[in-house]
């Protein structure tokens, strides 16, 4: 029996108003099941970021339907969209987005500030997840004193601390040298092996190749690559 879908897109599209209007994402269908490791590739300006923002509930579609864990996100109020985003989606950004004046543990714990988790448990959870990503010795370090790879692993730990259904990664190795990039990709492999659902958006074919399933996006049109099925465009 196949795993239940985490993401189900049905004719999801996004057009930005203006003169003339710009369609960043043409109506697309996509199903991503629990435990899948999916990469979305495409050149700059192809619509990758638009797709990521829609999947991350940071933007609202102009057409179609997006179900996350079976919940139709199109009918949700801002409060519920924020809740869903905070609890079920973990973000990993290219530029890390760590608060520079907070330690690694504090940056990770920040992800639980909005989820009614007492401070002691937040700190405990942050240390535990930093241990998982191999940064047990850097919990008290400030981002400015860490390497790019370490910073990205802190960002990954922050994305994991709420045990999300979906990890959304936006060019996760874009700011890393090759050795740090390899370490981060190895981290993703490990997370995939542990059953996490990953969607990695990248323009780097080497990064995309690590995913078990690949889709491509070009001029706002989403298409399945050679390795798998499940996309209907």
């Amino acid at each position: 029996m196949s795993e239940p879908p985490v993401i189900r897109l049905t004719g999801l599209g996004r057009t930005f108003g203006g003169r003339p209007p710009v369609t960043a994402l043409h109506p697309a269908d996509l199903v991503v099941r629990r435990g899948e490791y999916l990469s979305v590739t495409g050149p700059s300006g192809s619509g990758k970021s638009t797709l990521l923002h829609l999947l991350g509930l940071l933007d609202t579609p102009t057409g179609g339907r997006y179900e996350l864990d079976g919940i139709d996100t199109g009918t949700l109020h801002d409060r519920d969209r924020s809740t869903l985003r905070g609890r079920r989606i973990g973000f990993v950004f290219q530029s890390f987005h760590l608060l520079p004046h907070r330690t690694a543990a504090e940056n990770v714990a920040l992800a639980q500030v909005y989820h009614r988790v007492p401070r002691a448990r937040r700190d405990e959870a942050a240390r535990a997840v930093l241990r998982q990503v191999g940064l047990a010795h850097r919990t008290g370090a400030l981002p400015g004193t860490m390497s790019g790879g370490e910073r990205q692993r802190v960002a990954i730990a922050r994305a994991l601390v709420n045990e999300p259904s979906l990890l959304l990664c936006d060019e996760p190795t874009g700011n890393l040298d090759s050795s740090n990039a390899a370490a981060v990709l190895a981290q993703f492999d490990e997370l995939h092996a542990r059953g996490y659902t990953l969607v990695v958006i990248t323009h780097d074919p080497a990064v995309a190749a690590r995913a078990g399933r690949r889709v491509a996006i070009r001029d706002g049109v989403l298409s399945e690559s050679e390795t798998g099925a499940g996309v209907v465009c």
């Binding site: 923002h53 991350g56 940071l58 933007d59 919940i71 009918t75 949700l76 109020h77 801002d78 409060r79 519920d80 924020s82 809740t83 869903l84 985003r85 905070g86 609890r87 079920r88 973000f91 950004f93 530029s95 890390f96 987005h97 608060l99 004046h101 907070r102 920040l110 992800a111 500030v113 909005y114 989820h115 009614r116 401070r119 922050r158």
Partner: protein, 416 residues
């Protein structure tokens, strides 16, 4: 708001987390936070200091004025216009021994009769030489008791005594200003000045008076001399003969009740007695003008402080766009973002208010100590001052926090 359809509990930002995040936001840039607070510190400090200094200074003014006023009784003569020969001023209603009669009332320290000499006599340093004389110097007649009641600060010489009064001697007591204008600086060579071209020996010079400040630019001759040379005082209300009584503290009311009968038991109605006024009225008049002016200045300081907080908070919002986007990605709702920035500005305002109040209080205490005054700090103005800082921070943070809440998370995350 519609009910949530999610199985997950909604994201929330509890008060403890809100305060912790706001404090962290403030402490992560301590230098900037201090500068942001500075406007409020100065505004509230000026506010408290101004109110405190005004109250302290007016306390001194009030205390001195009240003391003098509370120990002064004035008696106005009500001469009958038909009492004297036609065309001449009526005789004064005060008896010849008015000083003694008033002085015998319990509580009186000094008392006498004085008036402004009628006819605008010409004062000059030399006898008639064709020059117009020195203008602007008032000539007053006063009994020795009245001069004592005026309580002049004599810098040289002496004041008219009972002998000079009884014998109507041509002597004069000059104010320092009048002496300067008449060219009199020393008394050891017994100088004389001329009034209507008749010489008057200068017996003393005074620099200040506690009562009847109009005489500070004047010259005083014995009452008997004035009566003999210039005739009766005018019957006009402000130029008629006046009784001036200096009393002990607390005795003025009782003296005022008795003085008319003591002067003329047969016709007490011949005098209008003015008891001391309400001791608070003068102080209120003096202080309300000062307070209004300084409060306006303090309000300007506060406004500058508020604009400073608003400006810096707005800059902080723009600088922390990336953080706002991150927090939104982590589940923060728009109201959480607004609350955080509003709390930061409110905390800054409150801290600024507390520091400013402390600074203002210290300023008042320091000035009072340096001037040897009694510091007066009104609790109604001082205690709520930190709350004014809170209000300033809250109001100043409104627009920036709304701006922060409206920040598009997409743009915010791209900005990193």
């Amino acid at each position: 708001m519609p009910r949530s359809v999610l199985p997950d509990p909604a994201t929330r930002l509890g008060l403890r987390e809100l305060c912790a995040e706001a404090l962290a936001g403030i402490l992560q840039r301590p230098g900037r936070s201090a500068l942001t607070m500075l406007g409020t510190v100065l505004g509230i400090g000026a506010f408290v200091a101004v109110l405190g200094l005004t109250a302290t200074a007016s306390g001194q003014i009030g205390a001195r004025f009240d003391l003098t006023r509370a120990t002064t009784v004035q008696v106005s003569d009500r001469p009958r216009a038909d009492a004297g020969p036609p065309g001449a001023n009526p005789p004064i209603g005060f008896p010849a021994d008015a000083d003694r009669r008033m002085g015998r009332i319990d509580g009186v320290e000094a008392a006498g009769v004085w008036w402004s000499v009628p006819g605008n006599p010409r004062l000059s340093a030399r006898p008639a030489d064709g020059t117009p004389g020195v203008t602007g110097i008032g000539l007053y007649a006063a009994t020795p008791g009245a001069v004592r009641a005026m309580d002049p600060t004599v810098v040289s010489g002496t004041t008219p005594d009972a002998f000079l009064e009884a014998t109507a001697q041509p002597v004069v007591l000059l104010s320092e200003a009048a002496a300067t204008r008449l060219g009199v600086s020393r008394l050891d060579d017994r100088p004389a000045v001329f009034i209507d071209d008749l010489p008057y020996t200068v017996i003393g010079i005074y620099s200040d008076v506690r009562r009847q400040p109009a005489t500070l630019l004047g010259a005083i001759v014995p009452a008997a001399t004035a009566l003999e040379r210039f005739g009766n005082p005018s019957a006009e209300a402000d130029r008629s003969a006046q009784g001036l009584i200096a009393t002990r503290v607390g005795a003025a009311g009782r003296v005022a009740e008795q003085v008319a009968v003591a002067l003329r038991p047969d016709a007490p109605d011949a005098f209008a007695v003015q008891p001391p006024p309400d001791p608070h009225s003068l102080r209120d008049t003096v202080t309300s003008d000062l307070t209004g002016l300084f409060l306006a200045l303090a309000a300007i300081c506060l406004l500058v402080g508020a604009v400073g907080i608003a400006n810096t908070t707005l800059v902080a919002v723009l600088e922390r766009t990336e953080e706002i986007g991150l927090r939104r990605a982590l589940g923060a709702r728009t109201r959480h973002i607004a609350a955080q920035f509003l709390t930061e500005s409110t905390v800054l305002g409150t801290l600024g208010g507390l520091l400013g109040t402390s600074l203002g209080v210290l300023t008042v205490l320091g000035v009072a100590a340096a001037k040897d005054w009694t510091a007066v700090l009104q609790p109604a103005a001082t205690l709520p001052a930190p709350l004014i800082g809170t209000a300033v921070g809250l109001l100043a943070g409104l627009y920036p926090s709304l701006r922060a809440a409206r920040t598009d998370p997409l743009k915010a995350l791209r900005s990193g």
